[in-house]
C-alpha cells in the first residue's frame, strides 16, 4: 500500500500524490464544464468575449492603423473598402479605433472588476466571520457607500484630477466593491457555522486558517460569479465616465469615449461612429453577464437541469 504514498507532487496543499483521473478533483471540473456548456447563452457569451479579445489585441496586427496622428485629409469618410468602418472627425480609421479603444475598455473593465471583487471579498469575509458589532460597523460602511451613486463619486474624482488607465482602474475598483462584499458576507455567515469550521476552532485552529482554508475556497462559486458581473459593470462604468469626457484622455480612447466623440455626428447620419462602439459595449456586457449565469449553473451543488 505504501507504494501509493509517493511524496506529494503538489507541495503546500496536497500532501499526497496528485490524484489520478478517477478520484478527487476530476469529477468536479468535468461535471462543471458539462453544466456550463449546457447553458447555450453562457457558451455564446464566452465565444463573444474570446472574439472581442482577439479582435482588440490581435486585430491591430492584421489591420494596423495610426491612432495617434490626425489625418485631416481623410475625415468623416463613409465605410469603404479602405476604411471598413469609415473614419472619424480627425481621420482615424474607425475599425482600428474600435480595437484601440476596446483594449482600454476591456483591460480597465477586467482589472477594475477583479479589484472590486478582491476588495469586496476580503471586506465581506472579514465582516461576516467577525460578526457582532464589527460586522455591523463594516456593513454600515457598505450601506453608506451604496447610498452614494458610484457615478457621482466618479464624476467628482474625474473633475478634480484626470486619471490615466491605472487611476481609472483604482477608482472604479474602489467604488464598486460594495455589492460583492455583501454577497461574500452572506456566504460567510452560513459557512462559518459549518461543522468543519467548528471542529477547526475547537481544536485550536486560527481565524485566519478558518477564513483562508475553508471559507474562501468554499465561497469561490459566489466570488467567481460576482466577479463576472463586476467586470460587466466596470466596463459599463468606464463607458459612462468616458462618454462624459472624464475618462481616458485623447489621443487614447475607449468605447465610451468613441461614443462621446461620435455623438456630434449623430444628426449628420454618420452611424459608423456610434453604432460599432455602442454595439461592442452592449455585446461585451451581455456576454459577461451570460458567462456569470453559466458559472452559477456550473458551481451549483444541487443544480440539475
Amino acid at each position: 500500500m505504501s507504494a501509493v504514498l509517493q511524496p506529494g507532487q503538489s507541495p503546500g496543499t496536497g500532501p499526497l500524490a496528485d490524484p489520478p483521473g478517477d478520484t478527487a478533483g476530476a469529477v468536479g471540473p468535468r461535471l462543471m464544464v458539462r453544466r456550463f456548456t449546457r447553458n447555450r447563452l453562457a457558451v455564446a457569451g464566452l465565444v463573444v468575449i474570446v472574439l472581442f479579445l482577439l479582435f482588440c489585441f490581435a486585430g491591430p496586427l492584421l489591420h494596423p492603423t495610426d491612432q495617434t496622428h490626425t489625418t485631416l485629409s481623410q475625415v468623416n469618410l463613409a465605410p469603404s473598402a479602405r476604411h471598413l468602418l469609415g473614419t472619424d472627425a480627425v481621420g482615424h480609421d474607425e475599425l482600428g479605433r474600435l480595437m484601440f479603444g476596446g483594449k482600454v475598455s476591456l483591460l480597465v473593465g477586467l482589472a477594475a472588476g477583479l479589484l472590486a471583487t478582491v476588495i469586496g471579498t476580503l471586506w465581506g469575509a472579514a465582516a461576516g466571520y467577525a460578526g457582532g458589532w464589527i460586522d455591523a460597523a463594516m456593513m454600515r460602511v457598505v450601506d453608506a457607500g451604496i447610498a452614494i451613486p458610484a457615478l457621482f463619486i466618479l464624476l467628482v474624482v474625474s473633475a478634480i484630477s484626470t486619471p490615466g488607465v491605472f487611476g481609472l482602474v483604482v477608482i472604479l475598483g474602489l467604488v464598486s466593491w460594495l455589492v460583492p462584499s455583501r454577497l461574500v458576507r452572506a456566504e460567510t455567515l452560513t459557512l462559518k457555522n459549518r461543522d468543519y469550521v467548528h471542529t477547526l476552532r475547537a481544536i485550536g485552529g486560527t481565524h485566519t486558517r478558518a477564513i483562508t482554508r475553508h471559507i474562501l475556497p468554499n465561497s469561490v462559486s459566489t466570488i467567481v460569479v460576482a466577479a463576472t458581473f463586476q467586470v460587466a459593470d466596470a466596463i459599463l462604468l468606464v463607458a459612462y465616465v468616458s462618454y462624459l469626457g472624464l475618462g481616458v484622455q485623447p489621443p487614447a480612447t475607449d468605447w465610451g469615449g468613441m461614443l462621446s466623440a461620435g455623438l456630434t455626428a449623430a444628426y449628420s447620419g454618420r452611424w459608423w461612429l456610434i453604432l460599432p462602439p455602442g454595439l461592442a459595449v452592449i455585446l461585451v456586457v451581455c456576454a459577461f453577464n451570460a458567462i456569470g449565469d453559466g458559472l452559477r449553473d456550473a458551481f451549483d451543488v444541487r443544480g440539475r437541469a
Binding site: 501509493v4 504514498l5 496536497g14 499526497l16 478520484t23 468543519y196 467548528h198 475547537a202 485550536g204 440539475r304
Partner: protein, 612 residues
C-alpha cells in the same frame, strides 16, 4: 396494535396495490435504478411498514404511490390507489386523488407547513380543495380536525402561526391536514424521525388511533425498527430497491428469515429494560449483564464512574464528582474536562434564553460519559462549552486541569491539541473542497506546524487504517464517501493528534443502524487502545446505554439525573428519565405492546397527560 386481524380470505380489497413497480432516476451521471420490481399492498385499516436503510428506495416507493416523483424519475409497472393507476394517470386525476383518497405526512413538520399562513387556514385550504364548502364551514372543520389530533384549545390555536407551535404540535397539524378529507390511504414518510422520543410516542399513538377509528390504510416508511414494532401490522423490508422480506410484524421482527433482515435487526441497539417482572426476558445488554447494574446499589445515583465497560465500581458521591479516582485509571485524579455550575444565556433582557443553568459535569481520563436529553435540553450546548466554542456566561470550565478563563491564549491553544471532535452531520463535517488526507491532516497543520510532509502522510495513512479505512482513501474527495465513511474520516481527524478527550456530538444519529454499529465499534476499540476519555452526546438512550459508562440526563438546561449507565437507565430516580425511557420503542412487537400499555397507565396515573 390496531384491532385489525390478519384473517386471510375475508380481507377487503387493498387500497394500495403495487405490482412490479420500477423507478429509475435519470441523472447527470447516468440512469440510477431506485426501485426494482416492488410489489406490495395495503388493505383498509392495516398498517404496512416499509423499512430499509438510506438509499434502499423506501421513500421513492412512497412518493410513487402518491404520484409525486420528481421530474427526472421514470416509473413503470403498476401502482394503483383505490383502483386508479397513479403511474399512468394524468396530473388532473392525480390532483383529485391527492389529499382526498390518499394523503401524505412528511418527515419534517417545520418545512411541511407554510410559515406565513395560520394553521387553521392551512387546514381549511386542504378541505376546500376537495369539497365545495363555505370558508366558515371549512374553518369549523379545521378546528374540529385540530381537536381530533389533540391540539388543546383548538378554537384559539387555529389562528396561530406554525412558529408558535412546538415540533410535536406542528406534526399534529400536518396530520390534521392529511386526514382532513378522510383519506382511504395515509402515507407517512418517517413521520416521527425529526421528533423527540416522548413526542414520537404521542404522535404514533395519534396515528394509530386515527387509523383504527376510520379504517384508513397506512403505508409507514421508516428506518426505526422500534417504530415498526410499535405501529405496524405487516412489514416489508427493502434492500437496494427490492423487497427482500414481507410478513406480519411479529414474524419479521422476531423470526426474520432473510439474512439482511437479521443483520439489520442485530445492528439495532436495544434498550435494556429492567422494570419488567421476571418471566419476560429482556433482550440482553451486551457485555454488562442487565442484572449487575440493577443490583449494584439501591439508589442508582450512588454509582460512581467506571472505567471498564463491564464492571461496576466503587461508589462515589455523585454530588462531588471530582474527588474520587476511577478504579483502574492510573493515578489520574483531575477530570480531563470539568464544567462547574456553568450558565449560558443567549440574548439579553426579556428575550434572553437560559440554555444552560448551573450545569456541572466532569469526564475523567479514559471514561465515557453519555450526555442525553431531548432537543432543547442543552446537551449540545454543554458539549460546545466543553469544546470552548461557546463562552459560558457564568461558572468555570477546566480542561485537563487548567481553568480556561485563567489560561493565556498560547496555553489554551496547546490545551486544545488534546481534544478531538466528531460532530453530527457527516456532510458538513468535512470540507468538500479538501481531500480526505487534507481533512485528516488539519489538526497536524494547526498543532505540528513543522512536521515534514512525509511524516504527516504516514500519520494520516496510519490513522485512516485505525478507523478501518483503506490508506488509498486519503486521495479521495469527501463527496465520494458514504456517510459512515465520512464519520470515520471525522474520527480519524479527531484522533490524529492522539487526544486525551474525544467530544462526540451525536456522531451516529445521521447514520443507518448497521453503519452506526461499525462507527461505535471503531470508537470503542480505539478507546481501548488509546485510552482517551469520551463525552458522548446523544438523544438515543439505547446507544448511550451500550456505549457509555456514566450518563448525565439533561432537561431544560439543567442536569436532571446522573450516575452509572447501568443503574440510571435501568432504575431511574426521576420521573423525567423514567418517561424518557418509557417512550423509547423497542424492536420487539410483543414487548413493545406491553411497554406501551404501561406507559399509558403511567401517564394516566400522572393525572395530566403531557400535551405535545
Amino acid at each position: 396494535m390496531t384491532a385489525i386481524g390478519h384473517s386471510p380470505g375475508a380481507a377487503p380489497e387493498p387500497i394500495l396495490e403495487l405490482d412490479g413497480l420500477d423507478v429509475t432516476f435519470g441523472t447527470e451521471t447516468g440512469d440510477v435504478p431506485a426501485v426494482r420490481g416492488v410489489s406490495l399492498h395495503v388493505r383498509p385499516g392495516e398498517t404496512l411498514a416499509l423499512v430499509g436503510e438510506s438509499g434502499s428506495g423506501k421513500s421513492t416507493v412512497a412518493l410513487a404511490a402518491i404520484g409525486l416523483l420528481p421530474g427526472n424519475a421514470r416509473a413503470t409497472g403498476r401502482a394503483s390507489v383505490a383502483g386508479t393507476d397513479v403511474v399512468t394517470a394524468p396530473e388532473s386525476v392525480l390532483a383529485g386523488l391527492r389529499g382526498r383518497t390518499v394523503s401524505m405526512v412528511f418527515q419534517e413538520p417545520a418545512t411541511a407547513l407554510d410559515p406565513l399562513t395560520r394553521i387553521g387556514a392551512q387546514i381549511a385550504e386542504v378541505v376546500r380543495n376537495h369539497r365545495s364548502v363555505t370558508a366558515r364551514e371549512a374553518h369549523r372543520t379545521a378546528v374540529g380536525l385540530l381537536r381530533r389530533v389533540g391540539i388543546p384549545d383548538p378554537e384559539r390555536r387555529a389562528s396561530d402561526f406554525p412558529f408558535e407551535l412546538s415540533g410535536g404540535q406542528r406534526q399534529r397539524v400536518v396530520i390534521a391536514m392529511a386526514i382532513a378529507n378522510d383519506p382511504d390511504l395515509l402515507i407517512a414518510d418517517e413521520p416521527t424521525t425529526a421528533l423527540d422520543v416522548t413526542v414520537q410516542a404521542e404522535i404514533l399513538d395519534l396515528l394509530r388511533g386515527l387509523a383504527a377509528e376510520t379504517g384508513t390504510g397506512v403505508l409507514l416508511v421508516t428506518h426505526n425498527m422500534g417504530v415498526v414494532a410499535d405501529f405496524a401490522d405487516r412489514v416489508a423490508v427493502m434492500l437496494q430497491g427490492e423487497i427482500v422480506e414481507t410478513g406480519p410484524v411479529e414474524d419479521v421482527l422476531l423470526r426474520p428469515v432473510h439474512a439482511y433482515t437479521r443483520r439489520l435487526l442485530a445492528a439495532v441497539p436495544r434498550l435494556t429494560v429492567a422494570e419488567q417482572p421476571p418471566g419476560q426476558a429482556a433482550p440482553a445488554l451486551d457485555g454488562s449483564g442487565s442484572g449487575s447494574g440493577g443490583s449494584g446499589s439501591d439508589s442508582g445515583q450512588e454509582d460512581g464512574p467506571r472505567s471498564a465497560p463491564a464492571s461496576t465500581s466503587a461508589p462515589a458521591a455523585a454530588t462531588a464528582p471530582a474527588d474520587e479516582p476511577a478504579t483502574d485509571v492510573p493515578a489520574v485524579d483531575s477530570p480531563v474536562v470539568d464544567l462547574r455550575d456553568v450558565r449560558v444565556v443567549f440574548g439579553r433582557g426579556a428575550r434572553a434564553v437560559r440554555a444552560l443553568d448551573g450545569v456541572s459535569l466532569a469526564v475523567r481520563a479514559g471514561e465515557t460519559v453519555g450526555l442525553v436529553g431531548e432537543s432543547g435540553s442543552g446537551k449540545s450546548t454543554a458539549a460546545r462549552v466543553a469544546l470552548g466554542l461557546i463562552r459560558p456566561t457564568g461558572g468555570t470550565v477546566a480542561l485537563f486541569g487548567s481553568e480556561l478563563r485563567r489560561t493565556r491564549a498560547r496555553d489554551r491553544h496547546a490545551l486544545r491539541s488534546g481534544i478531538g471532535v466528531v460532530l453530527q452531520d457527516p456532510v458538513a463535517s468535512l470540507d468538500a473542497r479538501m481531500s480526505v488526507a487534507e481533512c485528516v491532516a488539519e489538526p497536524l497543520r494547526v498543532h505540528r506546524r513543522g512536521m515534514p510532509a512525509k511524516e504527516r502522510q504516514e500519520l494520516v495513512a496510519g490513522v485512516l487504517e485505525r478507523v478501518r479505512l483503506p490508506r488509498a482513501f486519503a486521495r479521495r474527495a469527501p463527496r465520494e464517501l458514504s456517510g459512515g465513511q465520512r464519520q470515520r474520516v471525522s474520527l480519524a481527524r479527531a484522533l490524529v493528534l492522539e487526544p486525551r478527550l474525544l467530544v462526540a456530538d451525536e456522531p451516529t444519529s445521521a447514520l443507518d443502524v448497521s453503519v452506526q454499529e461499525t462507527v461505535l465499534e471503531v470508537i470503542t476499540e480505539l478507546q481501548g487502545e488509546l485510552g482517551f476519555a469520551c463525552l458522548f452526546v446523544s438523544h438515543d438512550l439505547a446507544v448511550v446505554q451500550h456505549f457509555a459508562e456514566r450518563v448525565v440526563v439533561m432537561r431544560d438546561g439543567r442536569v436532571e439525573e446522573e450516575g452509572s449507565t447501568a443503574a440510571t437507565l435501568l432504575r431511574p430516580t426521576t420521573d423525567y428519565t423514567r418517561r424518557l425511557l418509557a417512550a423509547v420503542p423497542v424492536p420487539d412487537p410483543v414487548l413493545q405492546r406491553r411497554r406501551r400499555t404501561e406507559r399509558r397507565a403511567a401517564l394516566a396515573a400522572d393525572g395530566s397527560g403531557a400535551g405535545a
